[in-house]
């Protein structure tokens, strides 16, 4: 039928720069400073090794459930590397590497996974502004829009980067956040880490759309799909989106195509729903291996240099674990659970706190009556 086809006002692009072997598409090279490249590499290795150590701690029962990030180092770190220190980051629950880049200490991470709320105040208040982990999937993106709105209202040229997964794009909150950001032209970069799985549900069952990036069109927003295991491509794409936001030209959706190499959380057994071959296929596209190959080729790193970095990182992690465990041993006063319920504890909570205090006194005195 001779109907008019409606042209979209925005384009959806795909970007990859480094291939799986670390070979560069030179005409797309974002030409990052050497220091940044090395800082990114170190952060990626730290992210990976910290995961391994956390898994170890969890299996020994020294911390509780945690969500590993392995495989997603390039997506997270490439994205967050484009921010200024006064920009905001609004994470989901799987951005440990990015949080550390923003100044979160390893100790704080261990404390949180150890079940201690004190994790929240371990690090200096003047670290780059970052919301805490948001467990309810998709719920944090709206906060990013509100934060961004407040900055524009105060005429600040700051931006917000918010992370979420492929699964999160199915939540109503994703939709409302994207739509609000479009309407208010908020300086937000929506960064979807499409790691192919939402626990056991594959990307293909999450939505019928061929890409997640194209969901941007529903909001009159530009969207781009990036090879999320290629840190250079991530930096390039997100930097462009950040610039756009900072210039007042509104939000962007960036889909990083990546892979969760480990379990969803330590409570999960991925063997139930995905094959070893699939995992191995993605291992070949490992973001760290690829980036190291490139850095070695560019002579920014050497094999012994890498070994030294690995060693330093192990030392850093070891120190953090020791510090955290010492701290955890000193924490745990149950009465702390009443802290910060409200700005001021109302009378009924004072009374309940006192109930618990009495119980604790009793039990210290040998089990009460």
């Amino acid at each position: 039928m001779p109907r008019k086809t409606i042209q979209m006002e925005k384009r959806i692009d795909y970007l990859g720069i480094l291939d799986a072997d670390g070979k560069l598409d030179a005409k797309l090279d974002p030409d990052l400073p050497k220091e940044l490249l090395l800082k990114l590499h170190r952060a990626m290795v730290l992210g990976r090794r910290f995961d391994e150590r956390l898994l170890n701690l969890q299996r020994q029962g020294r911390i509780g459930t945690f969500a590993p990030i392995s495989g997603q180092e390039a997506s997270q770190l490439g994205a967050v590397a484009t921010l200024r220190d006064d920009d905001w980051m609004v994470p989901s629950f799987r951005e440990t590497a990015a949080e550390i880049w923003r100044g979160r200490s390893l100790e704080s991470v261990i404390l949180a996974y150890g079940g201690f709320n004190e994790a929240a105040t371990l690090d200096p208040e003047d670290a780059p502004p970052t919301l805490p982990v948001a467990v309810p999937v998709g719920s944090q993106m709206l906060h990013a829009v509100g934060i961004a709105w407040a900055m524009r209202y105060r005429r600040e040229d700051r931006v917000v980067l918010t992370f979420f997964g492929d699964g999160a794009t199915s939540e109503g909150d994703f939709h409302e956040a994207m739509n609000f950001a479009g309407v208010f032209q908020s300086p937000v970069v929506f960064l979807c880490q499409n790691n192919q799985w939402a626990i056991s549900v594959p990307r293909s069952k999450q939505t019928r759309a061929r890409t997640l990036a194209q969901k941007a069109l529903a909001y009159g927003m530009p969207g781009i799909q990036v090879d999320g295991n290629d840190v250079l491509a991530v930096v390039a794409a997100v930097a462009e989106a950040v610039e756009r936001a900072r210039a007042g030209d509104g939000p962007t959706l960036v889909e990083c195509v990546t892979y969760r190499m480990m379990m969803h959380t330590t409570a999960d057994d991925p063997k139930r729903y995905r094959s070893d071959e699939e995992v191995e296929g993605w291992r070949a596209k490992d973001p760290i291996k690829r980036f190291e190959a490139y850095l070695v080729k560019r002579k920014l790193l050497t094999k012994p240099g890498i070994a030294k970095i690995e060693e330093e990182i192990q030392g850093q992690i070891q120190q953090a674990v020791e510090g955290a465990e010492k701290r955890m041993a000193s924490l745990g006063d149950p009465l702390e659970m009443f802290a910060h319920a409200y700005a001021e504890l109302p009378p009924h909570l004072e009374a309940q706190r006192e109930e618990l205090a009495a119980e604790l006194r009793d039990s210290r005195e040998g089990g009460g009556r």
């Binding site: 709320n117 509100g146 109503g172 739509n179 700005a343 009378p347």
Partner: protein
């Protein structure tokens, strides 16, 4: 001092707080040009511009989620949800974030926001426009839940809610919106959150109510005096959470006889907590079982039958007389 309806009094509170503090931002569906479907935000957009008064897209989780973001980043959003029956679309944002962010960040990122919503029956509206489900919020740790009963306290409480460092759910009894006028001073007036008031003194029986139920409770008290020579004390809760039990438990210790009135469904309703606090704190003074006069445990009927659902003066009166007649 001028005589204002509750709608006008709320408008005054917003106007003055916005003038005083440019962190105060009003947002919601139709709050701008339209002035809100009940006109509570009328004129604000003319006075403060589109940057301070935001007409949002039609999405309640969006409104609340965005408000949370604004609040953690230094603003004092006052969002309107058009009817309390549509706050449920935002329930997860309220419970999972507004109520928890202070605790989660150990005080680093408080959420000083107000969520305003008209609640309750009595205006012949469509389905979902007449509910009274304040328990959902009163039961949620981390929130405050405020319900004014008249123009003057509505204004004073809204000012306090806006200045409060914690998230406040502010339910406005729409049946009272234009029901009557009260003197409301032009100069600043606040009321502390978490404090109830004696709306009428008396020593023979205690009637506990809030929101739109305070008026019928007062009417019943009046008739008890006129027709039975009985002095009823009426307690207006004003804040449901944190619940101020000091006044009503003291009153019960004085009168020994208590009636709780609310339009919310009875079971697991606000009255249950009040009764329980009385049992916990005034048990030995009670001379009769406490009675609840409440909405029934059904969806509030469409408006042709709404009046028979909502507690009314006669129903309160009858229950009060029964409580008074009970001999222990």
């Amino acid at each position: 001092m001028s005589k204002l309806t509750m709608v006008q009094a709320l408008n005054l509170a917003l106007r003055q707080e916005m003038a005083k503090d440019d962190r105060v931002i009003v947002l919601g569906e139709d709050v701008g040009r339209d002035g809100g479907v009940f006109r509570v935000t009328e004129g604000l957009i003319d006075e403060f511009g589109e940057e301070r008064v935001l007409d949002t897209p039609l999405a309640e989780a969006g409104i609340v989620g965005m408000s949370i973001g604004m609040a953690v980043n230094g603003l004092r959003p006052v969002c309107e949800i058009q009817f309390s029956g549509f706050t449920y679309q935002a329930f997860h944002q309220i419970e999972s974030h507004a109520a928890r962010m202070r605790w989660r960040t150990q005080g680093r990122l408080p959420v000083p926001m107000v969520l305003r919503a008209p609640y309750g029956g009595g205006v012949r509206a469509l389905e979902h426009h007449s509910e009274s489900r304040e328990v959902y919020y009163a039961h949620t740790p981390g929130l405050k839940m405020v319900i004014p009963s008249g123009p003057r306290n509505a204004r004073a409480l809204l000012v306090s809610a806006i200045r409060d460092p914690d998230p406040v759910i502010f339910y406005e009894p729409k049946a009272v919106y234009r029901a009557y006028r009260e003197e409301v001073p032009e100069e600043e007036e606040t009321l502390p959150l978490g404090r109830s008031q004696v709306a009428r003194e008396g020593g023979d029986i205690t009637l506990i109510a809030y929101g739109a139920m305070v008026r019928p409770a007062l009417e019943a008290a009046q008739r008890l005096e006129e027709e039975n020579g009985v002095q009823a004390e009426v307690i207006d809760l004003l804040t449901l959470a944190p619940l101020d039990d000091s006044l009503f438990t003291a009153s019960a210790r004085k009168t020994g006889r208590v009636l709780v009135v609310h339009e919310a469904p009875r079971s697991f309703g606000p009255g249950a907590e009040i009764v329980t606090r009385l049992v916990e704190q005034s048990f030995y003074h009670l001379e009769a079982p406490i009675r609840r006069v409440t909405g029934y445990d059904i969806v509030i009927p469409l408006f042709a039958r709404e009046k028979s659902y909502l507690p009314h003066t006669q129903r309160i009166l009858k229950a009060a007389r029964e409580v008074l007649e009970t001999v222990a």
